[in-house]
């Protein structure tokens, strides 16, 4: 994870770089798109509809998010400096980018080790107060895995290129990845600070046979919501209503005024006759 952070900070890209992104207000007709390069050993250029989107893009790097106009994109990936003519190293045609969506496009190996592109929709719905969202994505040339937090499997039998997610209490967890149904650790453990109101997306990438499995982490902040209320008193010492003695006096006053009023009216009636 540390190496990824360093790479992200130093990579020369045509667009902004950053692991920590914010879910911005949705602009009409655009989507927020991040790109993760998770194919080991290949520096690439990424093209969208034949135009350079990212250049000199190194493995383990996550960009974004950038705003793309909503629509359909043909994405192609070439070895750095080799595109955009010719046969791309990786290709994904007709990738739908809906307005208002938050996507991460991942160039990664499939289970058999062949480079592919997968577009994931990131869950940017509001998270309950005190909670965090953990999303895990299997983008490694590896068999099915379990993801464990503190030694307990939280996501079981995840296969490439599927994802799994859950909302959990915020806090630090020690996470690792094991071969499904076993306690054989494939990646990790890694300490993850799952911050409140944040979607932490963990990508398992690399290749089991090449022994370069690794984790990449993306965070989307500002998904928090406020507590539902502030219950802050059970004693009843502050009684912000008319004190009882005053209530009694007021009742006496009203009653007396009614009685006296009737007598006044009666007296006037007699006098007028």
């Amino acid at each position: 994870m540390r190496s990824i952070l360093v790479l992200a900070a130093t990579a020369a890209l045509t667009v902004g770089v950053g692991l920590s992104t914010t879910a911005p207000a949705q602009a009409a007709g655009t989507a927020d798109v991040s790109v993760l390069h998770a194919v080991p050993g290949l520096t690439v250029d990424v093209y969208a509809n034949g135009k350079a989107l990212l250049t000199n893009f190194k493995p383990g790097t996550l960009t974004g998010p950038v705003k793309l106009a909503a629509g359909t994109y043909d994405l192609t990936v070439f070895a750095a400096g080799k595109g955009p003519a010719g046969t791309p190293a990786i290709e994904a045609k007709g990738v739908a980018v809906p307005a208002g969506a938050n996507l991460t496009v991942v160039a990664h190996l499939d289970a058999a080790g062949k480079p592919v592109l997968t577009a994931y929709a990131n869950d940017i719905s509001r998270i309950k107060p005190g909670q965090t969202r953990l999303t895990v994505r299997h983008d490694a040339a590896a068999p099915a895995v379990d993801i464990r937090a503190g030694g307990t499997p939280v996501f079981k039998g995840l296969v490439n290129p599927k994802e799994a997610k859950a909302d959990l209490p915020a806090g630090m967890v020690k996470a690792d990845v094991t071969l499904a149904g076993t306690s054989t650790v494939a990646i990790g453990p890694a300490d993850l600070n799952l911050a409140e109101g944040t979607n932490t997306i963990v990508y398992a990438w690399g290749s089991a046979t090449a022994k370069n499995l690794a984790l990449a982490v993306q965070t989307i902040t500002n998904l928090h919501s406020a507590p539902s209320g502030v219950p802050s008193g059970t004693g009843g010492l502050v009684n912000d209503s008319l004190p009882l003695p005053l209530q009694a006096l007021t009742l006496v006053g009203i009653g007396g005024a009614l009685v006296a009023g009737r007598r006044v009216v009666g007296a006037y009636a007699r006098a007028g006759r």
Partner: protein, 226 residues
Amino acid sequence: MRRPLVAFVAFLLLAVAGPSAWWLTRPSASSGVPVASVGASPPPSASASGPGPGAAPAAAPAVVPAAGAPSHPPQPALAPPQRVQVPAIGVDARVEAVGVQADGSMALPEPVGVVGWYRFGPAPGSAAGAAVLAGHVDGRGQGAGALFRLREVVAGNTVVVTSSAGVRVTYRVVGKETIVKKRLPTERLFARDGVPRLVLITCGGPFLPELSSYRDNVVVVAEPVG
């Protein structure tokens, strides 16, 4: 005929005097500006919205730097608040970090003499957003809480928060309101953006014995001085 009239007026005065005197002498329910209006973010500008709807998606990918994404530059984590003082109402209380209860409401320290700081939101001294401190106004069997007299606060009063690192932040109260709990604008009061401010919350209004709770919240908003 004379005597009943005098009695009528006297009883009427008695009926009106009690509630009037009570109404005039109790702390006013609000002071200063409406609490939800403080620190409201300006409406999002449309200037950086990128290509208009007419832009053909098949053309250039039109990469626009994500508008406003890093609008809150990461800031060094501040030390949590440890003490809050409101000299005008004699408050000098310890502060503990708190989160939420299972039902999603803010958790408060059990001892009513301790004030809770909502640890998922900004800390006092942050560059943006509302730092929220809340405490029990009282507790069954515990008596009056640290914020018992919060409803007596008025605009202009001073609040001082000291962090565990010894840093003091001084605030001036700009608004106080008593709000029915069901209508508490929590999204505004707990907002993590907008101008830096301090929000103090406790209970108030009529006590509802059948629910062992108060109907209202007393909310005070203060802005940093200097």
